[in-house]
């Protein structure tokens, strides 16, 4: 029996090249598809802000652009002098903020909610931050005034400064 199966030189080589390369590339394609990035995301945006009658009013929009139900905490933080937001690739850290309000908001897949917040005028307040964190296990805060540490991948936040 001849090694080339009677098909001439290079036939076995051709079979190996085609079978092996196509199999390897198929594996690569499968791997690429398996590591597809998530299409899910949350959106938080301010759509109106007013300062009148000794109070601030904020209107904001929270959207769940994902295929999963989200249940998370909506936190209203008031920043005073020296307040600071810092971030790295994994966490947000809100330092020197006072928590004004803390509530639970549930959103179905694709659902958006228009929300309102009213705060009394505080002459020492510098900024207002609204945070939505949908992984409550990740809300790390030792004491009322200590920094709030939140995981980036389950948090959205917006802020506005008070004149």
């Amino acid at each position: 029996m001849s090694w080339n199966g009677g098909g001439g030189r290079g036939v076995f080589f051709q079979r190996i090249v085609l079978l092996m390369s196509l199999s390897l590339i198929l594996l690569y394609i499968a791997y690429e598809l398996l590591e597809a990035p998530s299409k899910d995301f949350m959106t938080l945006k301010i759509i109106d802000f007013k300062e009148e009658n000794n109070e601030f009013s904020i209107v904001f929009f929270l959207s769940n652009n994902s295929s999963e139900k989200r249940e998370g905490h909506l936190i209203l933080l008031i920043g005073y002098e020296g307040s600071r937001v810092s971030e790295n690739t994994t966490h947000y850290c809100f330092t020197n903020f006072k928590t004004f309000n803390f509530s639970v908001v549930k959103l179905n897949p694709g659902e958006s909610k228009k929300l309102y917040a009213e705060l009394p005028l505080d002459p020492e307040a510098e900024r207002i931050i609204i945070v939505y964190c949908y992984d409550s296990n990740n809300i790390v805060r030792a004491e009322y005034h200590s920094p709030v540490l939140l995981r980036r991948d389950s948090t959205v936040w917006v802020q506005t400064w008070i004149s």
Partner: protein, 581 residues
């Protein structure tokens, strides 16, 4: 006997179908993975189609054909279906555009050629996967007609001179599709014309060759004239041929090397073919060793010494091409020159020589050097029949089953390396992320809505700027430059990314950032290919998050919108309006 032949033919057909299926799968991967068209250029191009659809005029910088074909699909299918076709169907259609070199390979008269290898290379070579189908761009369409012109010209040279007429037609369609493809085609026909003219004058004064020469010259003139005729569609935007002509007119001294190239090219190409035919000591091992030194070791050492930051990019593209493609191409070229006639050999050698001269010319020009990345796709596309032939010759030189097995396995891994480098990650493209996410589209849409609310401009990079143009149908007031190749944008984001130092933001500008720009994610503020910009550093992000009066208006998890005192301005103007009322 007959049934054995049928079986063999059927097996070959299945082989071809399997290889082409891989071509289709590789090109559809990013669309399936992201659910959106891959790359950010396509959004800019489609934004022009959307403008045309509204009956407005817009510049069409690459040539009109791509845009009007997309417009026809949009008008026929409607917007939602058009986006689905753009994402999931067009990559598959564009995959068919790789076929002309396969048919060129089938025309080879030399024995032992296996066109399936050419199809395999066309299916898996990273640049071809990326540029033809991986991303939906005018270049993909241009390269189809460029390839058809090559195929028809080959048939004109080998079968019947009348094939030059379809070659002229596809040349014209190349010009209508994509400026750089047209420029390469002009070089292709010019090199053939000069080389065959030299042969005509020196060796063979036949009527058919004279007719071919006349038609080739006519094709070059047609391509130049039709290129010039569509410049008016490009408005202020750049066109490769126009750039080169401008450069020559600005520096008349360049006419000297061009004139020298015109005189020397035919002598050099005919001389090389003659030398290769006479010199008998070419072996694949020698070729492979030379390629290893010239294309792997030398660029890697030079990059480490002069531009260490470019090393990941060089390694990503150079190693697979230099190991899996180049040695077989050079081996194929040598064997083809040896076994075919002078005229057939010149068909490949003359354009390859002029493409190399072009690449060296671009590399030697300060400021234009970075454009070198545009040329390899055309060279590789043109050279795939030679690579396929080289692999065929290599395989027929293997003298035992063990050698065939071992070599087959190694080549298979080379081919895998070519395929998996098709869609480079940002760390291999200087930090530029090509894919787009749904959240970034949402960010661009909301930035446009905010800009209408606050009557403000939008500062973002070229990547998100393309999305902004797309969702706004080119109505957004964007501080940036999408198509100017040489003047960097004077926006806050670009300036801060270059200097690394934030400075006060303007009053009426929305700043749109995404993680793809951030240093922390290995990203970059994309500005121009010709002028490097940097990433958005931690200092700039801290500045945006903590500077008094800079509001963070929106967060989409991997991007945010900032603006200086937006509500104060809005409430003041509201109050003024009420006051007026």
């Amino acid at each position: 006997m007959g049934s054995n032949m049928d079986k063999l033919r059927r097996r070959q057909d299945w082989g071809l179908i399997a290889v082409f299926s891989i071509a289709l799968l590789l090109r559809i991967v990013p669309s399936v993975k992201n659910g959106l068209p891959y790359g950010f250029d396509v959004y800019e191009f489609v934004s022009r189609v959307l403008v045309l659809n509204e009956g407005r005029t817009v510049s069409l910088p690459h040539g009109p054909l791509f845009y009007y074909l997309q417009l026809a699909i949009l008008k026929t299918a409607g917007y939602d279906m058009f986006m689905k076709i753009l994402t999931f169907i067009e990559p598959l259609v564009f995959a068919f555009f790789i076929l002309p070199p396969y048919f060129v390979s089938k025309q080879f008269k030399t024995g032992g050629n296996k066109p399936v290898y050419t199809l395999l290379y066309l299916s898996v070579v990273n640049l071809l996967v990326h540029q033809i189908g991986g991303v939906i761009i005018p270049e993909g369409l241009g390269i189809l007609f460029y390839g058809l012109s090559m195929l028809f010209t080959m048939r004109a040279l080998t079968v019947d001179w009348r094939w030059m007429f379809p070659a002229m037609l596809s040349g014209f369609l190349t010009v209508m599709s994509h400026h750089l493809s047209a420029f390469q085609l002009i070089l292709f026909f010019s090199s053939l014309f000069l080389s065959y003219l030299y042969c005509y004058l020196k060796h063979e004064k036949t009527g058919s060759l004279f007719r071919l020469l006349f038609l080739m010259l006519a094709t070059v003139i047609l391509l130049l004239a039709s290129s010039a005729s569509i410049w008016s569609l490009a408005a202020e935007e750049e066109n490769m041929l126009k750039l080169v002509l401008n450069m020559v007119f600005e520096k008349p001294v360049l006419l000297l090397p061009i004139a020298a190239a015109i005189i020397l090219l035919p002598v050099v190409t005919v001389g090389i073919v003659g030398f290769v035919k006479k010199y008998g000591k070419f072996t694949f091992t020698k070729t492979f060793t030379c390629i290893l030194l010239v294309s792997v070791v030398t660029p890697v050492v030079l990059t480490i010494v002069f531009h260490p930051e470019a090393l990941p990019t060089i390694l990503w593209f150079t190693i697979p091409i230099s190991l899996g493609f180049l040695p077989f191409t050079i081996h194929g070229l040598i064997q083809y020159c040896k076994k075919s006639s002078l005229y057939d050999a010149l068909f490949f050698l003359a354009p390859l020589v002029i493409f190399m001269v072009e690449a060296s010319f671009i590399l030697s020009l300060e400021g234009y050097r970075v454009l070198i990345y545009r040329i390899p796709t055309f060279i590789i596309f043109f050279a795939t029949p030679l690579a396929g032939y080289g692999l065929s010759c290599f395989s027929s030189g293997l003298k035992s089953m063990e050698k065939e097995y071992l070599a087959g396995m190694i080549v298979a891994y080379f081919l895998l390396s070519l395929a998996f480098t098709s869609y480079p990650k940002p760390e291999f493209t200087y930090g530029i992320r090509e894919s787009i996410s749904y959240s970034e589209l949402k960010l661009a849409r909301d930035a446009y809505n905010y800009s209408a609310l606050f009557n403000s401009k939008i500062d973002t990079d070229t990547r998100l700027g393309a999305l902004l143009m797309f969702i706004s149908h080119r109505n957004a007031s964007w501080v940036g430059n999408l198509t100017a190749w040489f003047s960097p944008s004077n926006s806050w984001l670009v300036n801060v990314s270059v200097t690394g130092r934030p400075y006060p933001v303007e009053n009426d500008v929305l700043i749109v950032t995404s993680d793809a720009m951030r240093e922390a994610y290995g990203g970059r503020v994309v500005n121009l290919v010709t002028k490097p910009s940097g990433p958005l550093g931690q200092e700039a992000v801290d500045y945006l998050n903590n500077s008094p009066d800079i509001d963070r208006l929106e967060d989409v998890q991997n991007g945010a919108i900032y603006m200086l005192s937006p509500w104060k301005k809005l409430n003041r103007s509201d109050a003024e309006q009420h006051g007026d009322g």
